[in-house]
Symmetry: C2
Subunit: 671 residues, 2 copies
């Protein structure tokens, strides 16, 4: 290039340089390190490299950018436009050549590392950088005079046309390669995994590659099918985890394995089959051929992780809760018996953190990024165990708290899973102590007109986790529940809904069939669960040396359904500015999506997980102390200033002073 050569400026990067007249815009971009996507390598087939000329005078660049300074639309672009459509004003940068000074705008969708924007405002966009990339190749034909293998000529093309070298090739790809090369008349598209392995090949130009992110939960399995070119989730589907027939909760499944020879194999087969079925469904829904599904990522708790991988989870059933491995793993999807995708599809499982803190928590970390936060973040994934992560960019700690299944409606007399007909919202009038509620599947409150008709189909069948949280918090706010968790028999004088139940009392939430009441034992079950959750968080706060947290994220299906205010009233979570308490939905699943769309996230999470300080609640003496102290509402002793400022708490809670659980009991007895 010489000072007289045309100047080209790329926006938004601002990169600039002079190139000889006739240089393709894409070539100039490559030379300047401007991020422009391409699958076809500049042959006008993929349309990934579309750019726009910005016309006008650009004082700051000192140039006048004219339409005439690019060559006109050529045959290749006309053909592409006819076939796939070229947006107004857009050009294929591999075809448009520089004739004079130009400013070229690279729209986000033409960047290789485009940002995939997420729905929630507070979380980072995902940089698109999938582990699988497609590369179109024009391969030399074999020549008897210079004999070389077809594969070696493919590798040569990968090096010369894409700068990729030292790749390996799956034997299964080699088995189809000769056919593909000849069917494509020596033009093929290959899929390359992490710039290391050639994992499949298609004849001719092929421009579709998909991946599936899977959250293997103990109750449900969710699969998200993503387009690896755009990063968009194009279909999601969920299914019950069929392992439920071997045991509702994780420990009963581990018990099944321990007591039945071959039990682990049964559980493994069940979950894999369900995943395969889910893959078929999600692909069918999106109209994606299975051969285009090239990558799959998994999150799951340690027991799901082990069972999915075909590892007997017995060791996770008892101390010292040893994981088989705590690193992320990459393998063929076929190695774990999955067949509803490309037969060379690669699978990646996020790393587990500790015996009770699994790849699902690793996914939550990827999604919520506490490791990038300046604020101290508390991230809680509530389930049968609550996985708790605390920290910021300096330091990250994690533990698991044995909350038990009460939050999921188990161990609660009228409890049930979150399903249509389940009570999920409750309000209690503090004067009349009369309740009103809403059920899943109906937008009306129970005291609104038409509620009976609207719920005729589902009925009102029980109360789910979020409903229990709310009813207890409301009972507490209205004085029915004392601070130590006793249903106050004195209230029976004020309302017929407080009913003696032998030596204890219950609160009648709903008359009729089924009758739904909150028993004293239900309150105790939730107190145990919430105290465990709080104690785990508190233990990590001790370790980190903080008294308060700046931000709380509730992850998981349950976390996204509960009202954070009610959760805090119950003292499930530490006191925090309510405006900074939010729910993240299925953050673990989002983590799987991130690992699918961004290969560096896999290296990141490996590094992060190694750095996480793992705390085992079972061997921490202070956990028991925190647990006992957390039995009261919201806590037996700790102040909740943010909560108290936002909600009118019963008198005793606002001024907890030095009250212990015993002190609270004494006060109650004194009443």
């Amino acid at each position: 290039m010489t000072p007289k050569d045309p100047l080209i400026v790329f926006t938004p990067s601002g990169r600039r340089g002079r190139f000889p007249t006739g240089t393709a815009v894409l070539a100039a971009a490559r030379a300047l390190g401007v991020d422009i996507d391409s699958v076809c390598g500049g042959r006008g087939l993929c349309g990934r490299c579309q750019v726009r000329l910005s016309a006008g005078e650009f004082a700051k660049h000192g140039i006048v950018s004219r339409d005439a300074n690019l060559t006109g639309i050529n045959d290749v672009e006309t053909r592409f436009d006819a076939k796939r459509g070229l947006g107004p004003g857009l050009r294929l940068s591999c075809q448009a050549e520089i004739l004079g000074d130009v400013v070229i705008d690279v729209p986000p969708e033409s960047q290789v590392h485009k940002q995939v924007v997420r729905k929630r405002a507070e979380v980072r966009a995902i940089e698109l950088d999938p582990a699988i990339r497609l590369h179109y190749l024009e391969v030399e034909r074999p020549d008897m005079h210079y004999p070389s293998g077809d594969l070696e000529r493919v590798m040569k093309a990968l090096e010369e046309q894409w700068g990729l070298r030292g790749l390996e090739c799956d034997l299964r790809v080699l088995q189809i390669l000769q056919r593909v090369l000849r069917d494509g008349d020596w033009k093929i598209t290959v899929a390359v995994h992490r710039a290391q392995v050639l994992t499949t090949a298609w004849a001719g130009f092929h421009d579709s590659a998909y991946g599936i992110a899977v959250d293997v939960g103990s109750t449900t399995i969710a699969a998200h099918l993503c387009d690896l070119a755009t990063g968009r989730v194009i279909a999601s589907s969920g299914a019950m985890n069929p392992q439920i027939r071997f045991g509702e909760d994780l420990m009963s499944r581990v018990s099944y394995v321990m007591m039945h020879p071959g039990g682990a194999v049964e559980l493994t087969a069940a979950v894999r089959e369900a995943i395969d079925t889910l893959f078929k469904e999600v692909a069918q829904e999106a109209g994606v051929p299975k051969d285009d599904i090239l990558n799959v990522t998994f999150v799951g708790n340690p027991i799901m992780h082990h069972l999915l991988l075909g590892i007997d989870p017995t060791e996770l059933g008892g101390a010292p809760f040893a994981l088989a491995a705590n690193s992320g793993m990459t393998f063929w999807a076929s190695e774990i018996g999955l067949s509803a995708l490309n037969r060379n599809a690669r699978a990646y499982v996020l790393p587990c953190i500790a015996g009770h803190v699994g790849a699902d928590t690793a996914g939550v970390i990827l999604s919520e990024s506490p490791h990038l936060s300046d604020e101290i973040m508390l991230v809680v994934d509530v389930g049968t165990n609550a996985e708790i992560v605390l920290g910021n960019k300096q330091r990250l700690l994690a533990c698991s708290s044995p909350t038990g299944p009460a939050f999921e409606g188990a161990q609660i007399s009228c409890g049930q899973r979150a399903a249509p007909g389940a009570i999920e919202r409750v309000r209690i009038d503090p004067q009349t102590l009369e309740p009103r509620y809403r059920v899943i599947g109906c937008d009306l409150w129970s005291d609104e007109d038409g509620f009976a008709a609207a719920t005729k189909k589902t009925g009102v069948t029980g109360i789910c986790g979020s409903g229990i949280i709310e009813v207890l918090a409301e009972m507490y706010l209205s004085g029915i529940l004392s601070r130590d968790g006793t249903i106050d028999g004195a209230m029976a004088a004020r309302s017929g809904r407080v009913i003696a139940d032998g030596r204890t009392f219950s609160y009648l939430l709903r008359e009729g069939e089924p009758r739904i009441a909150i028993l004293q034992t239900d309150v105790r079950a939730i107190q145990l669960a919430k105290a465990a959750l709080y104690a785990g968080a508190r233990l990590l706060m001790d370790r980190l040396g903080v008294e308060t947290v700046d931000r709380i994220v509730l992850a998981g299906a349950f976390g996204s359904h509960i009202d954070v205010k009610h959760a805090m009233i119950l003292g499930m979570i530490p006191d925090c500015d309510l405006a900074k308490v939010g729910s993240a939905g299925n953050a673990a699943g989002t983590g799987a999506v991130i690992a699918l769309l961004n290969q560096k996230a896999r290296d990141d999470i490996a590094r992060i997980v190694r750095g996480v300080e793992k705390v085992e609640t079972a061997v921490e003496p202070r956990f028991q102390e925190h647990f006992v102290a957390a039995m009261g509402l919201p806590h037996s002793s700790a102040p909740f200033p943010h909560l108290a400022a936002a909600v009118r708490l019963p008198e005793a809670a606002r001024n907890p002073g030095r009250n212990s659980e015993r002190g609270a009991r004494r006060r109650r007895q004194g009443n």
Copy 2:
């Protein structure tokens, strides 16, 4: 160490150093880089590290080495001796500690990189350095306070105890790892492939690892089971290649594939099944459990190579004879359907060189090492195609010559495979023209007493390749065959064994049932085959720019059966000092053994094969010229001075002058 510390000198390496009193001999050896083997890592379990104290005064080292300068036999050694036997004067170097100056002899069998001596004197010993190594580990127990995966603690032990880092682990190993660790009470032995992948694990100490080297020939498959600790072949077994039912020769099998959809799959399944059966046999013969077979190497011609790997060989059936791949490949044996070995066993296939020059030739190169030779070597593997390698350490060329199946007894009227009853040796009395012969399975010549009785069981059934070579050479030496390959009708006057056959003549080798005669057409078939072979060699000589070769090696079963003198009389091979013409037996199979026992040989052969100049005879115009000129015996024009000095050739051959084939014909007509 200080100047006052005891001095230790190791022989034969001569390495020496001072170490504090109480240093174990093995530790001193490690520190000095002395090559001493160990699987157990110095725990007195494996006995691989045995050494001997050399007592006496060693003037050149300036020390007096006394028995008393080592600690006495300890409990560990006593236990090892009782269990596995410690040779007289031998010590476990991991147990014996230095008390004073000593000279320690490391016997060859205690060296990691011991030499495996081969039977033939002219070839290099193999340095034992298998791709699979066993390592005994003591693994940390899991600790709830510092949660980590079992795998990660195994990796830590590998790094700390063996200096191995960054390893991967097969998912299938992870599936058994927790059980193995607990069964072994945290002491396990792992197998590591090429210092990169953990491929299996056993509870406790495990000291047996085997591999199988396989030569997949079109006719026979041979398997050699090797002990990877000693490098010894402990059992060999062969079987017919069942693909024969789809076609006797390679091209008919390719035709079968081309004409039958799914044919390649059938042929692949057939050869894999046969190999699996062979593995079972050879393991049973040696009493080796299949789980201890951890590595397998393969050689084979390109078509066998492709079919074994599950690659359709159609492309090899016609120009440009494109290989799917010409690199060596490593994969799981299970990927090619082999099950009679450890389920994580790794397989390695040597690289192919060109469309007609396969992994078998790569094996021949590894075995015969022309790439290390100062002399110009010609290595010929004779089969339906002859693979020819020519060169020395500077330059190596290879080609394949289409000899056809005549050398294997096909296309010969009384020809047959080499089998008991086949004539393999022939002599003809130049005076009487009477023949005598020997058959396979009998050491007597046909004119010796007892021949009839000794061959009663097998009979005399036909003539095999080596017999044909000899009978033609003898016919030529005795004047029955003229230099241009015509059976001389004039000889009918001298002997009733030369018989008119219409317009041509034949030579009666054996009367009776079956009558065995050499027809004119038989001579022509062999002439075509030998001319092709010679022309291939000559073409490479042209390319290399040499008129003579220094050494000739005949490889393959056929090559090892024929008499080199007779082969040269026929002009199958160029003239050469007969003392420098030898046969290498199954050199391809030996190459597979070398690749099994020495991992670096795999890298070597990859590099060598890339550097080999591949010559395609089909597109070389000079090949046809050489072919035509090579029809005469031993050649129509080239002189054979070494041969002429060793053998009394018929007049015309000794002074070939400028005779062309046409000239020879003219002379004959003049007779």
